[in-house]
């Protein structure tokens, strides 16, 4: 209900905070619009004038290279003026509140915030607090959501597999701490995916994970059977020190994706990863660089998807 914060009175995208609450038609529209931007990277002039004169601020309260870069490129290709700020080391360390940071930037006539923050709910909070003409795009908040990542994953899947209704998808790894997994699950469910499995030890699964609409497996070999799409998740080093796992090597032995394990899935299964990858921890190099891997394709698609979402969220400002 409150997710309507993301839509204006005509049901158009205003903020992009979470996949939850967005209808299938809107997700499909995002994928279609992104499709129209795909070729732009190959043109001599890699720009369209859709957001000329608009100011976009990338507010990164948490470190990120890849996501920030693709957002910057996407905004540039839409001809917007872009300012990127890494705030983790500047204002908040001086005691400035999140709200004060936002208010200060608002006063500089900004049209859009792209926000990454380490706390769940930060993007919602900013969207609630900003002036009505400003759009907020969630570039990852805590363990809650990373909806642009999920949409670029959906885009990549659709490019290769065309239709979601016959697909069996496995998401493997640290579901508990993953905002990516939460958004992927919501997007896959909204788009009508036949089956979603999460594969992880219990320590890396949130309570009542089935309530998200997934099947659960603690065994990679059994879980990979008949799978069309394998979505790996990054394993953070600190999971070892907080007693969630005994060691990287044991994790790799149980849940690492190797060529042998990959053979259990369907022969035409694709392997995805949101990056950055930990070779030899969650995925073997031979798989990451192998013919079934679409990891770099995901990165390229990230620009088109972010262009689509930014353009659509700004569109509402016309009327």
């Amino acid at each position: 209900m409150s997710e309507n914060l993301q839509l204006n009175s005509e049901g158009k995208l205003k903020h992009f905070l979470s996949i939850e609450g967005l209808p299938k038609s809107l997700l499909t529209e995002i994928l279609d619009v992104a499709q129209s931007f795909v070729g732009i990277g190959d043109h001599q002039i890699k720009k369209v004038p859709l957001l000329r004169g608009k100011t976009i601020v990338n507010l990164f309260f948490e470190n990120s290279t890849r996501t920030r870069t693709t957002f910057e490129l996407a905004a540039n290709r839409l001809s917007a003026d872009v300012l990127s700020m890494s705030i983790s080391t500047s204002s908040t360390s001086k005691g400035e509140s999140l709200l004060d940071t936002i208010r200060n930037l608002e006063a500089m006539y900004v049209d859009m915030f792209v926000v990454r923050h380490s706390i769940s709910g930060a993007a919602h909070f900013i969207a609630q607090q900003t002036a009505p003409h400003i759009s907020v795009i969630n570039a990852g908040d805590g363990q809650h959501a990373h909806p642009t990542q999920a949409m670029l994953d959906m885009f990549t899947i659709r490019q290769i597999k065309k239709d979601f209704s016959n697909l069996r998808v496995a998401i493997i790894g640290d579901i508990l701490h993953s905002r990516v997994a939460r958004s992927q699950i919501q997007a896959l469910n909204t788009l009508g995916t036949a089956e979603i499995r999460v594969i992880a030890p219990k320590t890396l699964l949130p309570a009542h994970v089935e309530s998200l609409g997934v099947k659960v497996s603690h065994n990679l070999t059994a879980g990979l059977k008949d799978i069309d799409v394998i979505m790996m998740l990054r394993l953070q080093k600190e999971r070892m020190t907080s007693a969630l796992l005994p060691s990287e090597s044991e994790y790799f032995k149980c849940f690492g994706l190797t060529e042998d394990k990959l053979k259990i899935a369907k022969p035409d299964a694709i392997v995805m990863h949101p990056g950055p990858i930990n070779r030899g921890v969650e995925i073997d190099s031979k798989v990451a660089d192998g013919p079934q891997s679409v990891i770099l394709k995901q990165v390229s698609n990230g620009i088109a998807i972010r262009m689509a979402i930014m353009a659509m969220a700004m569109q509402k400002q016309g009327g």
Binding site: M1, S2, E3, S18, E20, S97, L98, L99, H117, I119, S120, G121, A122, H124, F125, Q129, D141, G142, Q143, H144, A145, R179, R182, P206, A207, H208, V209, S211, L212
Partner: protein
């Protein structure tokens, strides 16, 4: 001193088994008679209580008034006015003030602040351990002599069970009540929401029921070992209710309360990230809420507290996990209790007992009843009066309530504390 005649109200006094229309007579701050007019009674104040309910003033087992230390959030003046507006005549103050209530000086400061606010019936709960750190015992006897009714460690768990055992033994030696909010520090894992479907969906750091039930089970074992009198505060889940029920059946002398919002709200209310629903212990599932209600109805839980925690606006402005937990709740205590009566979960007598006689019995104080000779702590309320939770009707400095803007049935019209009229609702047209 003055004589007050509360006239023709519907008196509900569960302790004295009174439930009928009649008058209450007060002189020199004390109840001198109920229903029968004393000879030579010449009231200088008459309170017309026709169509109203006259009951003992409420005894609130858990409040925070933010002084000393956080007067930007609230003050004794603002919060005692709020309490009076809510029919509360006795408040227990949690020890996590700044400085902590672990020395007689702080206890005396609180008594002084209460006196200056013209609301003397505030009982500080002394810290169970120094600075609430869970390592060294507080000077409980000295604190008792300085007016502390009980000891407790507020929201700070005592991580070392040997320290908890000794603290309970020492409290028992001085016949002090321990007020214990069961909460295992490690299992709580700095969470902010119930470990369930909602926290999973929104990626919120979560607290399992086991954080409460394991701490509760450990403390129950220590009750048996030490013979300490323990009251468990702010229970939040089904299995806690079951554990208290079993402990009582087994013969342990323990009691328990629930914060009023736990009887009405669930984890679903926080969706997506509404910080007004950020409370500790967290709002749990519908099944937990039902069990808490049943526990109240069956008497396993004998008291309802407000767990009043007023905040400034900034405290609730932020991403959900970063906001401060707590609800400003003393003014919605009565209508939320009455809602349970309207829903036939409990009877009116049970509801009033859970707000007055039962918590008074937990504290062993002469209040919570209209007994002749007791201080005249009285609440008069109109059970049919509708009112909206808004700035006109609100006295607390904290407006952090999920019920803001809602209309409730049942409003306190007069509150008397030891015979002083500390609240009188202005007649509105």
């Amino acid at each position: 001193m003055s004589q007050i005649h509360i006239k023709q109200g519907h008196i509900v006094d569960p302790v004295n088994n009174i439930n009928r229309v009649g008058c209450v007579y007060i002189a020199d701050g004390k109840i001198i008679s109920v229903t029968r007019e004393p000879a030579g009674f010449k009231p200088d104040t008459i309170i017309d209580a026709q169509h109203k309910i006259v009951c003992p003033g409420f005894v609130d087992l858990s409040t925070r008034l933010r002084e000393p230390g956080q007067s930007r959030k609230a003050t004794f003046k603002s919060e005692t006015a709020a309490a009076a507006n809510g029919g509360v005549t006795t408040m227990c103050l949690q020890p996590d003030t700044s400085p902590v209530i672990d020395t007689p000086a702080v206890a005396e400061l609180i008594k002084e602040l209460a006196k200056n606010a013209d609301y003397p019936q505030i009982y500080p709960i002394a810290a169970l351990t120094q600075k609430l750190e869970g390592t060294e015992l507080s000077a409980m006897l000295t604190l008792k002599q300085a007016g502390c009714m009980a000891v407790g460690n507020a929201n700070q768990p005592v991580r070392n069970l040997l320290i908890l055992r000794r603290a309970m033994e020492y409290a028992a030696s001085h016949d002090m009540l321990v007020m214990f909010r069961p909460n295992d520090y490690w299992l709580g894992n700095n969470g902010c929401a119930h470990e369930g479907a909602v926290a999973t969906r929104y990626g919120l750091p979560s607290i399992p029921e086991a954080a409460e039930t394991i701490a509760l089970a450990q403390c129950l074992e220590l009750v048996e070992l030490t013979g300490c009198r323990v009251h468990f505060g702010q229970l939040s889940c089904k299995r806690s209710v079951i554990k208290i029920h079993q402990a009582k059946k087994y013969g342990l002398h323990v009691s328990a309360d629930v914060a009023v919002h736990q009887l009405h709200l669930t984890e679903n209310d926080i969706i997506p990230f509404d910080s007004n629903y950020h409370v500790l212990p967290p709002l749990r599932t519908e099944a937990d809420r039902q069990y808490l209600r049943q526990g109240l109805a069956s008497g396993t839980i004998n008291s309802i507290c407000s767990d009043h925690q007023p905040h400034d606006k900034d405290a609730k402005l932020g991403a959900f996990p970063e906001t401060e937990p707590g609800v400003s709740s003393v003014e919605t205590l009565l209508p939320l209790m009455l809602k349970l009566v309207a829903q036939r979960i409990i009877t009116l007598e049970q509801g009033i007992a859970s707000l007055s006689g039962n918590p008074a019995r937990v504290l062993r104080i002469k209040s919570g009843a209209l007994t002749v000779g007791f201080a005249a702590d009285v609440c008069v309320f109109d059970p049919e009066l509708d009112w909206q939770v808004n700035a006109d009707n609100w006295k607390s400095q904290g407006v952090n309530t999920p019920f803001w803007g809602q209309t409730f049935k049942g409003r306190v019209t007069q509150t008397l504390q030891a015979g002083n009229i500390i609240h009188c609702l202005e007649k509105s047209g």
